[in-house]
């Protein structure tokens, strides 16, 4: 479901929305009511780091790398989740913000293997974050319990995206959830049951939303292990899933004439980026493996 887009009482997307005026980094702008501070900043061309936020999921509000300074607020606020209000005065690059973002990045790097997270290194540079300042992550064994994808929770930053994609936000299967508390929290099935014995239907939507590479399609995982994953050598082909009448839009990622990953555009009206096992993994039957 497109979170962040307000709906009217009948559930339809509200298209005619009032405007809200606010100030961000000294610039005054008007955005539609219901937008987030993140949306507003984006419209000014401000690039805000985000990890747990996704356009097609309910904001989990958990990573806090997107925090901004809101005048009058006691603490910083998460720009991805906070809706704009008239007269807000926001700073996205003050010392308070930079310090907080820097330490959040350092804390992440000290506890999670962020090496496969796009843009992470760039953000560390931008905020002067020293990745080993608070130590280095503890290794964890890769969970390899099914044919279609692997789970490397040493790379899991607990962004809640896979849980949301498996649950209310897309799949409604609820095969995985956050278990344990605090530093012991992990993503798990009940009693850590292997995925094939759990409720999982292998739609791969969790893999599709994972920002850190903790969840990887088998083809991608194997190529990465062999140091052969190379996005510069990949092409993307848009097509329609042939398996049923719904007509989901697919993007085939091809490397060396092999389909290495199937995704769906987040902006797609039909899929909002989510697929089922056939669209996601049906290529396995196309005779490549």
């Amino acid at each position: 479901m497109a979170a962040g887009s307000p709906t009217d009482p009948t559930g339809r997307l509200v298209t005619l929305r009032r405007k809200v005026q606010l100030t961000i980094d000294g610039a005054t702008l008007s955005v539609s009511e219901g937008s987030t501070i993140l949306d507003a900043a984006k419209s000014l061309g401000i690039d805000t780091p985000t990890l747990c936020f996704a356009q097609n999921l309910t904001p989990a509000n958990a990573c806090r790398v997107c925090v901004v300074e809101l005048e009058g607020a006691r603490t910083l606020v998460p720009s991805c989740a906070r809706r704009v209000e008239p007269g807000m005065v926001v700073h996205t690059d003050s010392a308070r913000v930079r310090d907080a973002r820097r330490t959040v990045l350092e804390l992440l790097a000290s506890s999670v293997d962020m090496s496969a997270t796009p843009k992470f290194a760039e953000w560390c540079e931008r905020y002067g974050a020293r990745p080993t300042r608070f130590g280095t992550p503890t290794p964890r064994p890769v969970v390899d319990d099914n044919a279609l994808f692997v789970r490397d929770y040493a790379k899991c930053m607990l962004c809640y995206k896979c849980v949301e994609a498996c649950g209310d936000d897309a799949q409604h299967t609820f095969a995985i959830a956050v278990a344990g508390r605090g530093a012991h929290a992990t993503i798990a099935t009940e009693l850590d049951t292997p995925l094939p014995d759990s409720a999982c239907v292998f739609c791969g939507n969790c893999v599709g939303v994972c920002p850190t590479g903790a969840l990887q399609f088998r083809a991608e995982h194997e190529l990465r292990e062999a140091d052969a994953w190379d996005e510069s050598r990949q092409s993307q082909i848009d097509t329609i899933c042939p398996y049923c009448g719904v007509g989901c839009s697919l993007t085939l990622h091809v490397q060396d004439e092999r389909i290495v990953k199937v995704t769906s555009p987040v902006g797609s009206e039909v899929t909002h980026g989510h697929l089922c096992v056939k669209g996601r993994f049906g290529f396995e039957y196309l005779g490549k493996r």
Binding site: P59, N61, A62, C63, R64, V65, V67, T75, L76, P78, A81, R82, R96, D99, A100, R102, T103, V104, E106, L107, L108, S110, S111, P131, T132, R133, F134, G135, T136, M157, L158, G167, H172, F174, A175, I176, A177, V178, A179, G180, R181, G182, A183, H184, A185, A188, T189, E190, L191, D197, S198, A199
Partner: protein
């Protein structure tokens, strides 16, 4: 929802424990998940696969989610465990009274922590809310019925006896140690029979509710507002404003939630109220529900308070039988049902939105605010969440009028307030004093420090330290705010001369690490880093130089305060920071070793 079941069956005992909870409610709704998990735990000592399967089937909760919830709470075991568990407090007030001697003795003479021995084990516990009886423990023996007993004044011998299942009588000092004539909130505690509605009425009970019914809800709202009552749960929010906000919401139904989670280390005042004067809490909730037109209310009592929960349940049942709850409260056009719900060992569930999540049968993870509970609270409906003492104070305000309340205290901090004195103080207990008394006078009221005074922890683990030269601090919201301190939940823990404050703050850091819900990065990771850092401080082994460590701590404090979702993370470094300003926390005299990064130097 089409759920895939877990492939396992419950035992007859487990099934019966589950069904008994479901029988208390018209429908098997999701919010019964925690009561059901608690019931299984109480019956057999842990939640087995079969029991979880049956709970999920009956409540239509996805197994993975139920597992996530069961593993969230400290008092729910998800692996086979012995029937008898002795939860030994090793938190700040009990440590000040020698609890470490007990845990050491148990480890060497009984079994290592959490290891089963003759169907029993012991575990360290965060503050059990029995600090005036420190060192304290809670013994839970699963079975039918479950036995839950709070033990105070413990020593190694009685702890061993408790583990062997012997019935032990521990002398518990009276919780109230001050002259009775000055008591208002505590007036009936220790005087009234807590299990007799008639006795409660004979001591002035239900006069406030009668008055409220006579004068109407808007009068009540005005009176609470005029009394300038500030919340006693920690944040000090004006109660009148909150009540008014809930009452003015268009949405229905509305709920009242009494926050009796009381898990801030060093806090036990709400327990004393609930155990000693439970009908007053029931009347107070009824009054609040009347004021905001709520027809359903919950009291969320922390899992470690068996007696308080039992007394409240008894009081609710008696009140209901006598027409003081139910379809027509006191014959008036007020309808109300109150339910007691018990926590299961999670400090975070005292945070109001985490509490609501827990009540709804989810993990106790705080919500983003706004929206605030007054608009979207329990089940998304307008909800009044107040602390036990706040509600008790509102009852006095309605009974005696706002002027009687504002006559005590200061203009900005009206009325009396309960303080929980513990640690190295002569007469630990709950003290009720008008706001504005100095810390010095309050400690004197409790007989003074036992072995000199090196410092005081004010407000709890989320509070701040006060040095011996700051005892003239007036105990009001405004004076503490100006001093950069907080009253928090009314905690005053006294530390003797010679206290190792490094060990004390390391203990607090361990508490936050243990209690972080894990939702947000600053707190989940930050609290562990603070704890690790303090371990290095105590061991004298800095990562780099002490200056590096100092910088790290400053940065951790900043990110916790500024970027955490809720008050737990936001306050997790405040006591520590106040300690570094007052006590020798940093090993300043220690030679700084050559910088060797302990992290292996990985870039």
């Amino acid at each position: 929802m089409d759920l895939k079941s877990i492939d396992a069956l419950p035992t007859d005992d487990e099934r019966e424990a589950i069904e008994r909870v479901l029988a208390t409610q018209p429908e098997p709704t999701r919010d019964l998940l925690l009561p059901v998990l608690r019931a299984i735990q109480a019956r057999v000592g842990f939640v087995s696969k079969g029991a979880l399967a049956h709970a999920c089937d009956r409540l239509q909760v996805p197994p993975a989610e139920a597992w996530g919830i069961a593993t969230f709470y400290h008092l729910i075991a998800t692996r086979p465990a012995p029937r008898t568990v002795l939860h030994v407090c090793d938190d700040v007030a009990c440590r000040a009274r020698g609890s470490e001697r007990i845990t050491k003795a148990l480890a060497s003479r009984f079994a290592p922590e959490a290891a089963a021995h003759h169907d029993a084990c012991w575990k360290r516990s965060p503050c059990l809310g029995q600090c005036e009886r420190a060192p304290a423990a809670l013994r839970i023996r699963a079975g039918e019925p479950v036995e839950e007993r709070a033990l105070g004044g413990l020593d190694a011998v009685s702890a061993m006896d408790a583990l062997r299942g012997e019935t032990i009588a521990v002398p518990a000092p009276a919780s109230i140690q001050q002259p009775r004539d000055s008591l208002r909130l505590l007036a009936r505690v220790g005087v009234v029979d807590p299990e007799s509605l008639d006795d409660y009425r004979a001591h002035g009970g239900y006069a406030a509710l009668r008055r409220a019914h006579e004068l109407g809800a808007s009068w009540v709202l005005r009176e609470v507002s005029d009394a300038k009552l500030l919340g006693r749960g920690g944040a000090g929010f004006p109660a009148g404003r909150k009540w008014g906000a809930v009452a003015s919401q268009p949405a229905r139904p509305r709920y009242v939630v009494c926050n009796a989670d009381e898990s801030e280390p060093g806090t036990f005042k709400d327990r004393v109220l609930m155990e000693g004067d439970p009908f007053a809490i029931v009347e107070a909730i009824t009054l609040a529900a009347f004021a905001v037109s709520a027809e359903r209310a919950f009291v969320y009592v922390r899992g470690e308070y068996p007696l308080a929960a039992a007394r409240l349940e008894h009081a609710i049942a008696s009140a209901r039988r006598r027409g003081l709850l139910g379809e027509s409260v006191m014959g008036h056009a007020q309808r109300l049902e109150i339910e007691v719900r018990r926590g299961a060992g999670a400090y975070i569930c005292g945070e109001e939105t985490a509490l609501l999540e827990s009540l709804e049968g989810r993990r106790g993870e705080p919500r983003a605010k706004p929206p605030f509970p007054v608009e979207q609270g329990l089940f998304g409906k307008p909800t009044l969440v107040n602390n036990v003492e706040t509600l008790a104070a509102a009852l006095l305000i309605v009974r005696d009028g706002a002027p009687a309340f504002t006559a005590l205290g200061t203009p900005e901090s009206s009325g009396t307030r309960l303080f929980c004195l513990s640690g190295d103080v002569t007469r630990p207990g709950v003290y009720e004093v008008p706001m504005g008394l100095t810390l010095r006078a309050l400690i004197a009221l409790a007989g003074g420090a036992t072995h000199g005074l090196a410092g005081v922890l004010l407000g709890g683990a989320a509070g701040t330290f006060v040095g011996p030269d700051e005892l003239d601090l007036k105990l009001t919201f405004e004076d503490t705010r100006r001093a950069g301190a907080t009253l928090g939940s009314g905690v005053v823990i006294v530390f003797r001369e010679g206290t190792d404050f490094r060990a004390v703050v390391h203990g607090l850091a361990g508490f936050f690490r243990h209690e972080s819900c894990g939702q947000c990065v600053p707190c989940r990771v930050g609290t562990t880093k603070v704890d690790d850092l303090l371990a290095r401080v105590r061991a004298g082994t800095p990562d780099g130089t002490w200056d590096d460590e100092r910088d790290r701590l400053r940065e951790l404090g900043h990110v916790l305060r500024e970027a955490s979702i809720c008050g737990l993370g936001q306050a997790a470094a405040s006591a520590l920071e106040s300690a570094t300003q007052r006590f020798a926390i940093w090993p300043a005299a220690m030679p700084t070793p050559t910088p060797t990064p302990s992290n292996g130097g990985k870039a």
